[in-house]
Symmetry: C2
Amino acid sequence: MMKKIYLIFFFCSISLNAQKEETVKSKINDIYRQALTQGKSYDWLNHLTNQIGGRLSGSLNAERAIKWAKEELDALPLDSVWLQTVMVPKWVRGTFEYANIESSPGNTINVNICALGGSISTPSIGIRANVIEVNQIDELAKLGKEKIKGKIVFFNRPMQGDLINTFKAYGGAVDQRYNGAAEAAKYGALAVIVRSLNFRLDDYPHTGVMSYGDLPINKRIPAAAISTNDAELLSSMIALNPKLRFFIKQNCKNYPEVKSYNVIGQINGEVSPEKIILVGAHLDSWDLGDGAHDDGAGVVQSMEVMRFMSKKEFRPKNTIRVVLFANEENGLKGAKAYSKNVKNSKEQHLLALESDTGGFSPRGFNFDTKEKYLKRILSWKPYFDPYYIHLFEGSGSGADVNLLKENALVLAGLKTDAQRYFIHHHSEMDTFDQINKRELEMGAATMAALVYLTDQLGLE
Amino acid sequence: MMKKIYLIFFFCSISLNAQKEETVKSKINDIYRQALTQGKSYDWLNHLTNQIGGRLSGSLNAERAIKWAKEELDALPLDSVWLQTVMVPKWVRGTFEYANIESSPGNTINVNICALGGSISTPSIGIRANVIEVNQIDELAKLGKEKIKGKIVFFNRPMQGDLINTFKAYGGAVDQRYNGAAEAAKYGALAVIVRSLNFRLDDYPHTGVMSYGDLPINKRIPAAAISTNDAELLSSMIALNPKLRFFIKQNCKNYPEVKSYNVIGQINGEVSPEKIILVGAHLDSWDLGDGAHDDGAGVVQSMEVMRFMSKKEFRPKNTIRVVLFANEENGLKGAKAYSKNVKNSKEQHLLALESDTGGFSPRGFNFDTKEKYLKRILSWKPYFDPYYIHLFEGSGSGADVNLLKENALVLAGLKTDAQRYFIHHHSEMDTFDQINKRELEMGAATMAALVYLTDQLGLE
């Protein structure tokens, strides 16, 4: 008799588990189906990019984007939506940059450049000087002041093309852009020109943040990116004629910090409202394109997660919060303000999930977490199989959520098929027409699925 | 003592295996590195699409493509390159199609259509008639002759948007295009208009093959595809005014079959020259675009596999053969001729691998094979992990290699990230500028890796 009861109990518990598993599968299927057939992310992105546009920190467009995002979150409806004040840098490009290569007096070829974010301007008459080409910052010390002083330093190391992970290739080349000017200035360079971080040979210069480190203001020199095609041209012309001169003129400017905001909204958890699951992306972008891939896609995907979670059928156990961070591109001030507040208020985050790898087909996630949580998440992998989501890597997360390391059990970043990403990144090519609706929507669904699993199944 | 010898033997064999595994890993790494840094596929595709262009069976461009492909294979060099004669259909679009919606006499709106491949023309004055919209071929029988006779039938069932596998969605909607005209003609329809097989709403009509089945020539009616935007427009206008009339004019024509060729090349195996590993794609394309994704990508990827395999360091055990098939799009005559010859000559194929899912990021393969070979191939999965290749599915292969079922141990098709594929497929949007170099090259490397593994490790 006892045996029979055990057996019944055993089968009941199997069938309960199987039933629960089926419910989870079907919910996730719902998420993807809704994203692909009734999604809002694409229309939202159309508005953010085409009605607002590029939205560099401190610009009028950044303010407009904040206002728009708050209104859209208010309309979902969530339990609360608020703005968190953040002071952000304000850097303005001014009139478009101009550059040419002068092979001999009177013989010039125009080339495509753009100022790097944070750079100072050239004198109003520009700078014309000989060029010295280097591939590594290290080479500066070897060349020494005598070979560098009075010249324009041209950093021309390409991204490593045989790396499958394009972000690794970016990481391996970005030092030239970020530190190049500060280092070259120490040897008396007049300016630096950096090869754009783009695998493809094309005519678009790619901007991005640079830093002068602790260089005194009077030692700073202008820094610009040059398109990959023009980097190739410049390099080959230098090989033919090391005496050629390069002309650069830009009139960008740094202003004092201005007030901006993180846009935050949340749905309160029914069981553990004190536990937070965060999804987020950065609302700011560079000014050359309309910031569709970087990071408009992440913004509307995060909003879409909130739209799913604010439906009656998804009432979450934990608090689900969206954070649209200010100023990721040139300062991380939004993430710094958010994480500081989390520390002060001792808020507990279960998961902080960021989307900042473009609106391409989702492939998986990067996780930064303890072994036991990673193991738990890996046990959910089969739920993602039908959607071709397969990369669950324990390496990093995202620039914004990374600052929550001490206050979140799991940091995560959506991982996309990013072979095309650096064609668009920080350039005029980052526009809405380069977004595929289905790919964008599948990314939103993939984020929502992870949020749903974390919320319903728990990390422990 | 004996124990010691066993142990030594044991460790030697482990270290031999480990060494072999390292060699394989490093060869595969070589393949990807070379594809991404010294690849030829992108330049080849540039020529095929921009210097030759669309290459519909029986056209001058198809001839030029065959000549070019043979010359390029001759230059690799391979052990032999030859042409296999094939008779192919010749269908010509003629002047571009014209269509409009007449909401009331004198009020017309132009819409974008294109004739389906194989369709007859309209009378030279065109056809103007009322429209009846249906979603399924089945509906024709329910409506019956009285409601269909004298009208234009408009098939408007969209592709199913919530399917992750876009080819499944294609398979679920293509009956309207392929059989729609033959079926509607039986009920006295004057013509058929089919919603383009494209998830996206845009203005491009997508052609593709259609068939009249066994319908006598005098019963045949013209068939055209309409862009998704115009399908939506037409449908909403019919809802407002069921009496509206549609005008269509096209002057396409079927000619007698003409001579064409499969382009074939091979490297003879050193150990088992009688065993063949085939890579291939179709050289023909539709005429609206330049056939970059469908299937120029597959053609240059297959050629690239041969380039790798023809290097000294890759001397293969088995014969490696490339087949660039004629006439996949509207007749499969190339594949039929090739497979017929294989049957007659009793050639043994180990693997027949096709690339015909666009030049997008490779994700894996579809296999059509026995359980034991699939198991063997699945054991190689870890070799593909570093390249994000993860989908190894036992479902289908490709239209051309499919005919080799009885003469090949393994049929396979490269599986790409095809969310964008049906934007381009059979339309004006299938052009070289829509190809990403890295994605194309990774596809070539993925094919080469499978060929290398099959050749070196064997299927048994």
